[in-house]
């Protein structure tokens, strides 16, 4: 009797596990959604903590410049070489500047800047807020009637949304510069022709759509860092898990939303 019951339970276990994980997934989506709304409201309505905001602008924006610049210059250079090779297969090496410019501004600039930010900023935010959660500083903050959403989450979200487009503009410029360096030093392109081809070819929308993407990615990066840090459980290990989750989930969300946004922009442009 007892063994039959145990067998029934173990037969049901996979289904139960499936249901449990589905529920957990749904709950997490809802949790992220509620968190995002609360964070956005805190970010957009006064009072603002201007000192915090400035600190986040510097930490997220300014200190990310070196890593974003390095990524962009090497990507632009490699992209130029690859497109030169590919274009050479049907005698179209000459379109290389245009394709490099298009690839960088529409896709690689925003995505690479966002990924570097996911590694650099999302993890840092999750670790910082996670540690505050583990040492109960967030509860202390609430006791002192300071809204942690206003003090911690809002400034980071604002900084992410406003700083990543600026970083992307830098990445676009430096990425094109990387392609230009390779083209002029290695592939014997004329410097002036390369730049003129790029500038004549690029349309405003190529750059602007990339910057819009970047703003969305910036929101994702900051949101994932805050969410996972805020909900960190269980001391030091929990903080470690929170940083990992923050980086992985923001990377996945960046790619997924990148595809969605690109689809939307492609249809909107018609």
């Amino acid at each position: 009797m007892a063994s039959a019951e145990a067998a029934g339970r173990s037969a049901l276990n996979p289904i139960r596990a499936l249901g449990r994980s589905t529920l957990a997934a749904v709950r997490m989506v809802g949790g992220v959604g509620v968190f995002a709304v609360r964070g956005t409201v805190a970010a957009l309505t006064p009072p603002w903590f201007l000192g915090q905001l400035w600190r986040q602008f510097v930490a997220i924006g300014f200190f990310s410049l070196p890593v974003v610049g390095l990524t962009a210059v090497f990507t632009g250079a490699a992209l130029a070489l690859n497109i030169f090779t590919g274009g050479g297969r049907f005698n179209a090496e000459q379109v290389m500047p245009q394709i490099v410019a298009l690839g960088i501004t529409r896709e690689l600039g925003p995505v690479l800047a966002a990924l570097m930010l996911a590694g650099r900023v999302s993890a840092a935010i999750a670790a910082e807020i996670g540690a505050m959660r583990a040492t109960e500083q967030i509860d202390a903050m609430r006791t002192l009637s300071t809204d942690p959403f206003r003090y911690l989450v809002g400034p980071r979200l604002l900084a992410g949304v406003l700083m990543l487009p600026i970083l992307t503009a830098v990445a676009d410029t430096i990425g094109v510069a990387g392609g230009w360096l390779v083209a002029t030093r290695v592939l014997d392109f004329s410097s002036a022709v390369y730049i003129r081809n790029t500038l004549d070819f690029l349309q405003g929308w190529d750059v602007i759509s990339g910057l819009i993407k970047a703003a969305v990615f910036g929101f994702i990066v900051a949101l994932m860092g805050c969410y996972h840090g805020y909900n960190a459980k269980g001391g030091a290990r929990g903080v470690g898990r929170a940083t990992t989750h923050a980086v992985v989930s923001s990377a996945i969300l960046i790619f997924a939303s990148d595809y969605l946004l690109t689809t939307f922009f492609t249809h909107a442009a018609r």
Binding site: N91, A92, Q94, V95, T173, A177, R196, D200
Partner: protein, 172 residues
Amino acid sequence: MREQWAETAMGVVVLALTAGFLTYSLSVGGVHSKSGNYEISAKFGEAGSLAPGASVTVAGVKVGTVSKVVLEPKTYLAVAKLSMDPNVKLPADSTAKITSDGLLGGAHVAIAPGASLDDLKPGGEIENTQGAVDIFGLIGSVIRPQGGGAGGGAGGDAAAPANPATQPAESY
């Protein structure tokens, strides 16, 4: 920021490099360098895939860009405005021809200099032109020599008529 002086310096360096490259690009390819250019026009019977931004070459060297391609309503000719490098003076009887960059590349305007002693003046027009070759029309005329309006292609192009659309239509 005080304790992170190395990162601060790197950030400043990156910003400076970006600004430097932007300034250089705008000085090379921007609006400023185009101000010295002069504009000439050329009429083509068939512009093909010629688009603004395409290059204008003499002997394979880029000397200008196509700034505009419009239809002249009265004659049904495509008028291409060419923005030319001021250092390049072209004889008045030069020939303009639309050719392809490569098999899949875009079209560009190749100019063969003439022998006239007078130069083309800014705002002038290149009278001798040859439009884009309709490759599919040519293929069609080879496969079915009698069929369709494109049939005249092979014979007509061999004679290389200037301004083909202004010539009286050949009847076969």
